[in-house]
């Protein structure tokens, strides 16, 4: 890639910042202005960067994306297929990055709990205290870009001892029916001591003529003894580019479970950083990606064991068909103080077609001695004996393969405790795997 070409890509985004900032009166926001400066310094990564070795972002940048002005066109029936089953969930609908209050259902919240749009909470003390403090905008140019364009997203705050039993559904719709659009959703979730909450965060596109680009960042703080589950589902269409970063800061005795499910998109990159920042933390990381066509799905995870007696467990699975390619880069970092760490990681992949590619790089970096860490990675095809077993019982080859692939995927899905979401996901997965062959 020649430097002049890269310059114009960067320039495009820098130019749109000026109009954006003046429209939303953010010219004086220190966070947004610092971020755009950082982005200007960093530029976009190329495949020369070790972290972007297998993912070339230049096809994304070739497009010209319009930034939404917040005008609403979305109707209730547009989002019906995306809603969770069951009626009791708290729903926030974001249309091209802006909260659509008419379609959202935010009622009967427990005392002290805040679930609102970030745009209207910008002056809240908790937002001031936490927003932009965790996501690494100084190193990651897409985080810097998102931070520069922070305007709206979800803000969730749970005070000490608060429990939200109903699932919270954050629904993002990128409506590109009229023009190619870019959205920069930003979520801030702060759960104080002894909290419990479950969040489903789903991304969708409407319209498949124009391309769309979602660049999202979520910052999550789990307080002492809190229990947080976060499920990120990505079912955008083949014209959608999706780059997201999730940064999690865990305090002592907290439990954090995250599932990252990718079922669509053209180029998808999910960065996930979890910092186990105090003793006795537990995290579970699950991931599933099912790809076909020319998709590229790249999952980068970093589990940073900063303190002793923590445990992390990671399972990522992928089924790759067509000419698609998958990337998994899982790093476990154990700092010198983090004795008695248990860290496990596993990445399993099935290649369905001759032209699919999987690049896996599980990494361990360990600086403490009293630890138990392991990782495993496999790439292969379906077990021929299992296939034979099913076929010998009269099941056709196609069905048998679908059976096994669905079981392979279900291994990840079964860890999601949000039943309404599981119910929504399984048929999607089955359909995708059945058509895949």
């Amino acid at each position: 890639m020649n430097p002049a070409y890269q310059h114009t890509d960067k320039e495009k985004f820098l130019n749109s910042y000026g109009a954006f900032a003046s429209r939303h009166e953010l010219m004086d926001s220190p966070l947004n202005t610092l971020a755009i400066r950082k982005f200007e310094e960093l530029g976009f990564p190329t495949t020369k960067h070790e972290e972007w070795k297998y993912t070339n972002v230049s096809p994304i940048l070739k497009n010209r994306f319009a930034l939404s002005t917040g005008k609403s066109r979305l109707k209730r029936e547009d989002i019906l297929p995306f809603l969770l089953t069951g009626k009791d969930s708290i729903l926030l609908v974001f249309e091209n990055g802006f909260l659509n209050r008419e379609l959202s259902l935010i009622e009967n919240l427990p005392q002290g709990v805040i679930i609102d749009s970030l745009a209207s909470s910008r002056n809240h003390d908790v937002v001031k205290q936490h927003l932009g403090k965790y996501a690494p905008m100084k190193q990651e140019s897409f985080v810097a870009l998102n931070t520069a364009f922070i305007f709206d997203g979800a803000f969730i705050y749970l005070p000490v001892n608060a429990v939200v039993e109903r699932p919270i559904h954050l629904l993002y719709v990128n409506d590109s029916r009229e023009e190619a659009t870019v959205v920069y959703p930003r979520n801030l979730i702060v759960a104080k001591k002894n909290n419990s909450l479950k969040i489903a965060c789903t991304y969708h596109t409407i319209g498949n003529i124009n391309s769309a680009f979602t660049n999202s960042v979520s910052e999550i703080v789990t307080g002492a003894n809190a229990n947080v589950e976060f499920v990120k589902v990505q079912t955008e269409n083949d014209n959608t580019y999706h780059i997201s970063h999730t940064e999690v800061m865990q305090e002592r005795d907290s439990v954090f479970n995250i599932s990252t499910i990718t079922l669509g998109g053209n180029i998808v990159r999910n960065n996930l950083h979890i910092v186990l920042n105090d003793v006795n933390c537990t995290s579970h990381l699950y991931g599933l990606y099912i790809t076909d066509g020319n998709e590229l799905v790249d999952n980068h995870t970093l589990v940073d064991h900063a303190k002793p007696n923590c445990e992390s467990n990671e399972l990522y699975k992928g089924v790759l068909g067509g000419k698609s390619s998958g990337v998994f880069n899982g790093k476990v970092f154990v700092r010198p103080d983090a004795q008695k760490t248990n860290a496990y990681q596993s990445n399993k992949n099935i290649l369905l077609s001759d032209e699919a590619t999987m690049n896996t790089k599980p990494q361990l970096e360990i600086f403490a001695d009293d630890v138990k860490c392991s990782h495993g990675a496999t790439t292969g095809q379906l077990d021929s004996e299992a296939l034979f077993y099913l076929r010998s019982r009269g099941i056709g080859e196609k069905e048998a393969k679908a059976f096994l692939n669905i079981a392979f995927a279900a291994d990840v899905i079964k860890n999601i405790s949000l039943e309404p979401l599981r119910d929504r996901l399984m048929p999607l997965i089955e359909r995708k795997l059945k058509q895949g062959d």
Partner: protein, 481 residues
């Protein structure tokens, strides 16, 4: 726990036993690197014009390259103009019997425990001993000659078998390959050459010893092994070096070319000076080793025991081009004090039904950093390729680090690739189990570490397995019984 710590302290504090300097007059090139120095080396070695031309091409290419910075190792920048690129013992002996060997050199060998006589009589190992870049003595040459096996120093091969050198030199590791391979191609001083003709099974283990003797001398060895169709050879390389304060650079290149049905087994025991307890001195070992399985059913197997060097940085690789070819990599890397190792392998599957196995054991103690870095690549056309990798790390102290960087790139659906890695310390329950059965903690640690490496030691030829155990004993003194 305190007893554990005592043992670990002992383990991490043992001194380097093989440090000594032999007083042999050497014939040196002036310090620094330029075309003049390369011409000097070539002239000294009385090389033909095409060889000099190749060196100069490599040098000119090297000038366009930049030093790589991606490995997980840290060291002060190397001044390539502050190195003596050629140093040969002055008296080039042409010997009829061992008695004529320079007594100094002979004593050096005895200290190292090589003992030519004994090996000649007992073990049947032909040793091509290399001290500071010039091959001094080659044994068993005649008996090998009868079978058509060529085993000689690289410079002799340039004179005696120019057609083979021209054909194969740079065919597996071209001079454009990487920074240090280019440097080596420009200034390599000597090394070993080995050719096994068609359908010959080499009757003895071939072996060389590399030593770095003069202070401030970069050692640039070049080894080329060619196994013709159906041939078999087991090649051993062992290294020890005397104590020096300055950091010395070693940038060797090993090329293996394995034809149809041929098998090459390459074993290394590397125990260069690792620097003292404060991390001062020690060898920088930046080596390019690569084998090509060119024909069907070819096999190349690397076994390495790395205990020395301040910095080790090497990735013995196999390109599996022929269908049904096999690549293997077995490694034990021990780091102590301030040593750093970034080692592993690359298995490039190009042919159908190719197989590779990677077993890597890293042991780190003191303040050392030990990294495994490996690549398994299955190309689009490599049907039914199979890989199994296992990389285990053992930590013997709370100040050291163990890292794993495997790259798995799979582009064929019929491939089966498995990778597994663990990191742990010597289990307290394992030690307790041994204690309970009357084995002291010290013996127990030894037992566990030895057992841990056994899978790799088993791959070594008998003669080397003994030395490997000795080296482990030095690195882990006090814990290995």
């Amino acid at each position: 726990m305190t007893e554990d710590q005592k043992i670990i302290t002992e383990v991490t504090e043992s001194d380097y036993k093989w440090g000594f300097i032999s007083d042999i007059e050497s014939d040196q090139a002036p310090k620094g690197l330029n075309e003049e120095v390369i011409r000097f080396i070539s002239l000294k070695k009385n090389e033909p014009a095409w060889m000099l031309e190749w060196r100069l091409k490599a040098y000119r290419h090297w000038l366009t390259m930049t030093e790589p910075v991606w490995p997980n190792v840290h060291y002060p920048k190397i001044d390539f103009n502050d190195i003596i690129y050629y140093s040969a013992p002055k008296k080039k002996p042409s010997l009829n019997s061992l008695d004529e060997l320079d007594p100094e050199i002979k004593a050096t060998f005895d200290k190292l425990g090589i003992s030519l006589e004994e090996q000649k009589r007992l073990s049947g190992v032909a040793v091509d001993a290399v001290i500071d870049s010039v091959s001094v003595k080659t044994t068993f040459r005649e008996s090998l000659g009868e079978l058509g096996v060529i085993f000689c120093s690289f410079s002799e091969a340039v004179h005696d078998h120019p057609e083979l050198i021209k054909q194969y030199l740079g065919s597996v590791v071209p001079y454009t390959d990487n920074y240090y391979a280019a440097l080596n191609s420009a200034v390599f001083s000597d090394g070993s050459f080995c050719y096994i003709p068609k359908s010959v099974r080499c009757p003895m283990e071939l072996s060389t010893y590399f030593r770095i003797n003069s202070a401030g001398t970069g050692q640039f060895e070049r080894t080329l092994i060619i196994a013709e169709e159906g041939a078999f050879v087991s090649y051993l390389e062992g290294c020890t070096a005397p104590m020096r304060d300055e950091n010395q650079l070693h940038a060797a290149v090993v090329e293996i070319y394995s034809h149809k049905d041929a098998q090459v087994k390459y074993s290394t025991v590397q125990n260069w000076y690792p620097g003292d307890k404060e991390g001062k001195g020690g060898i920088y070992n930046f080596v390019t080793k690569r084998g090509l399985c060119a024909g069907t059913h070819a096999k190349i197997s690397w076994t390495q025991v790395e205990t020395g060097s301040a910095i080790t940085w090497k990735y013995p690789s196999v390109i599996l081009k022929g269908d049904y070819s096999i690549g293997e990599f077995y490694s034990v890397a021990v780091t102590n004090n301030y040593q750093q190792a970034d080692t592993g392998t690359k298995m490039i599957h190009l042919g159908k039904n190719t197989k590779s196995t990677i077993i890597s054991k890293g042991i780190s103690g003191g303040k050392s950093q030990n990294s495994y870095r490996g690549l398994v690549r299955i190309n689009r056309k490599a049907e039914n390729a199979r890989n199994f990798s296992q990389c285990d790390s053992l930590l013997l102290g709370d100040k050291c680090g163990a890292h794993t960087f495997p790259y798995l790139e799979v582009s064929n659906k019929t491939a089966i690739v498995e990778h597994e890695a663990t990191t742990s310390k010597v289990g307290e329950d394992q030690i307790f189990y041994c204690n309970q059965r009357g084995i002291s903690t010290e013996d127990a640690v030894g037992l566990i570490v030895n057992g841990y490496c056994k899978e790799v030691f088993n791959q070594l030829p008998m003669e080397f397995a003994v030395e490997a155990q000795k080296l482990l004993a030095i690195s882990l003194e006090g814990s290995v019984g």
